[in-house]
């Protein structure tokens, strides 16, 4: 799905109905892929679900669980961690909208305006991808340093009375959403660019020939045509952001007030060795994202992406 989504739209191609006796060959060709899926997707998934239903064993020691059909684990994690689940989706929504607002003009410039200057277009595209050459962790860490309590950004904001003297940026909701937006902007820009790059400018001309204002042309022509790019871009940012645990981590831009579902999974898995709760949360996150994506794609009428 991801690759189909990344291409930004469906292209019509000549299609030949395969002959019947090629089914065996097709199956044989599919086999490695199926084995791979079974080993590295189905098995971990089943193991995850099985773990999410485990119960503590008789020893009562930390991290010791045995198989039991305990659906109650799911209720427990929802009751205990609903604020973190809600926070994850609010952060993901905010960061996705912000990156869409930033990326669309950027992609429009690269894909449409810069067509006249191919060199600038290539350069701008390279600049969008350039941050990937440096580790994600390192870049996030750099922001933490830039926004640290003694940094000129914070001291300036404090002297302008935008921040109170005992208010800082690192560890706030703002900082985490900032980090998430920054880190996932390329995932939004690239699908938008592929959609905008193919935009037929004659359609825009036709729109203004019919006395539409530029705003109306944008709303009625550009936006609908690039909708597949917007859908794939938002999916490619929203899904990883909802599961992200680096930006919100106490070691990076977050604090104990900004922990997301990924941080809760980490804590349960590594700190208190509560594997069933961690697994139940992971299953819930997967199910919630899958549900949201299906709903979203249906609503926006681009089922062909799925």
């Amino acid at each position: 799905m991801a690759f189909a989504a990344f291409s930004g739209g469906s292209e019509k191609s000549e299609y030949k109905v395969p002959r019947k006796n090629s089914t065996k060959v097709a199956l044989a060709l599919l086999l490695p892929g199926m084995i791979y899926l079974a080993l590295f997707f189905i098995t971990p998934l089943v193991s995850l679900v099985a773990t999410s239903l485990e119960v503590p064993d008789a020893s009562g020691e930390i991290g010791r669980y045995q198989y039991g059909f305990e659906i109650g684990n799911y209720w427990y994690v929802i009751q205990t961690y609903w604020p973190h689940i809600a926070r994850s989706f609010v952060y993901a929504l905010a960061a996705t909208i912000l990156s869409l607002l930033i990326s669309y003009p950027l992609a429009y410039f690269i894909g449409v305006r810069a067509r006249k200057w191919p060199l600038i277009q290539k350069l701008a595209l390279a600049l969008v991808i350039a941050p990937f050459f440096i580790s994600f962790l390192l870049r996030t860490f750099a922001w933490k340093q830039l926004f640290s309590n003694e940094s000129w950004i914070v001291t300036t904001l404090q002297s302008l009375h935008i921040l109170a003297p005992d208010q800082y940026l690192v560890g706030t909701d703002f900082m985490v959403i900032f980090g998430l937006t920054y880190n996932f902007i390329p995932f939004m820009t690239l699908p938008l660019y592929t959609a905008l790059e193919r935009l037929d400018l004659r359609l825009l001309e036709a729109g203004s020939d019919l006395y539409a204002t530029p705003a109306k042309v944008f709303r009625k022509v550009t936006l609908p045509i690039t909708m597949p790019g917007i859908i794939s871009g938002t999916l490619m940012t929203f899904i990883p952001i909802a599961g992200d645990y680096i930006n919100a981590s106490r070691d990076f831009l977050g604090s104990s007030g900004t922990q997301m579902i990924g941080n809760v999974v980490e804590t349960n898995f590594l700190r208190i060795n509560d594997y069933p709760s961690a697994s139940a949360l992971s299953v819930l996150l997967m199910a919630a994202i899958l549900g949201l994506v299906v709903f979203y794609v249906r609503r926006s009428g681009t089922e062909d992406l799925l």
């Binding site: 089943v46 010791r64 898995f269 700190r271």
Partner: protein, 411 residues
Amino acid sequence: MNKPLPQDPMMLELIKMARRHQMTRRTALAGAGASALALALAACAPGGNNTKLTPAKDVSATDKSLVWHNWSLYMDEDDKGHYPTLERFTKESGIKVEYKIEIDDNDTYYGKVKDQLLQGKDIGADVACPTEWMAARWVNNGYVQKLDEANIPNKANLAPAYLGASFDPNRDYTMPYQGIIGGLTYNKKAYKEATGKDAPTSVADLWDPALKGRVGVLSEMRDTIGIILMSQGIDITDPNSLTSDAFMNAIDFFKGKVEDGQVARIKGNSYSEDLNNGDTIAAIAWSGDTVQLNLSAGEEKYGFVVPDSGSTISADLFLVPMGATHKANAEALINYYYDPKNAAELAAWVNYVTPVVGAKEEAMKIDPTLAENQLIFPSEEFMANTKSFRSLTGKEELSFSKAFQEILLGA
């Protein structure tokens, strides 16, 4: 689902083909069967096993080698990346040591090796150095081989403060590698500017409103809550004083400090970054790091104090897991590092508290100012005010760490 089929013959053919391949009841059942099989397999994974473990066969006599799992920056290292004391050990004993920096965090290390430990299998190390509380869990669960005192004559050099731990009172199963003192580290200049005082003296000084948002604590429960408990007059070594109620009381207090923004940073090893960039002015932190922070700052920028109510002390312990096959070699290694000369050389580099008596005198010969450093070679008065967190039962550990982690996760 019931849209009329398209008229285009090619599309019609494609849709029919797709329908033929759609999931039939039979394939659905097969899928369910496969999942059930996988679930059953998953259920067979190692679970509770209460049989007593037995030590693996010791092949030290024929195989002069050994694998050691340890923490980073925990071994003297020269400019070329060699470990001088370790290489001398190999030269003297003929035992080749594979030194692996494998432990980054007690919990994650435990997560990595626990399935092997449970079955008494080889965890890939003949000797490892987890922190005391984790080592206690291993000893209590019977995951650790008993050490042979005859092979460690230098055990006589063990500082008496390290004897008497409830899980291993005579150090039959574990031996301290380096001691770790938890106390208050502060940025001297920034602390003076913020509060007008020269240095914090008690835990209460951390709750000064002038430090709001600039206080850090360790994400290590036993140090942070231990120090808070002591400031509330609790004896953390005594099960009658450190009860579940007392613990939860301290947790509530700590929670208030996190929620009102007084404590801004709760971290593990990475807290030194916050001291470096000035985010944190005062913190509950480890002594050895303060020495290293000052070294990298090139000046005595940070101070370390034991709060008047007392400090926590803990240690990383040598232990030999049940599945290890080179116990005698490991004992030779432990004995080597209990020689005061070697201990002094090691302490001079790693800057943690050495548990070896006589190391201070040896250090005097290498570097007298170093030997004067209370944080590496603490005096008896200094040690008198440090206590170690009592060992917890499995149930206590689970409920205590849950309560602590809940604060770290916030609501």
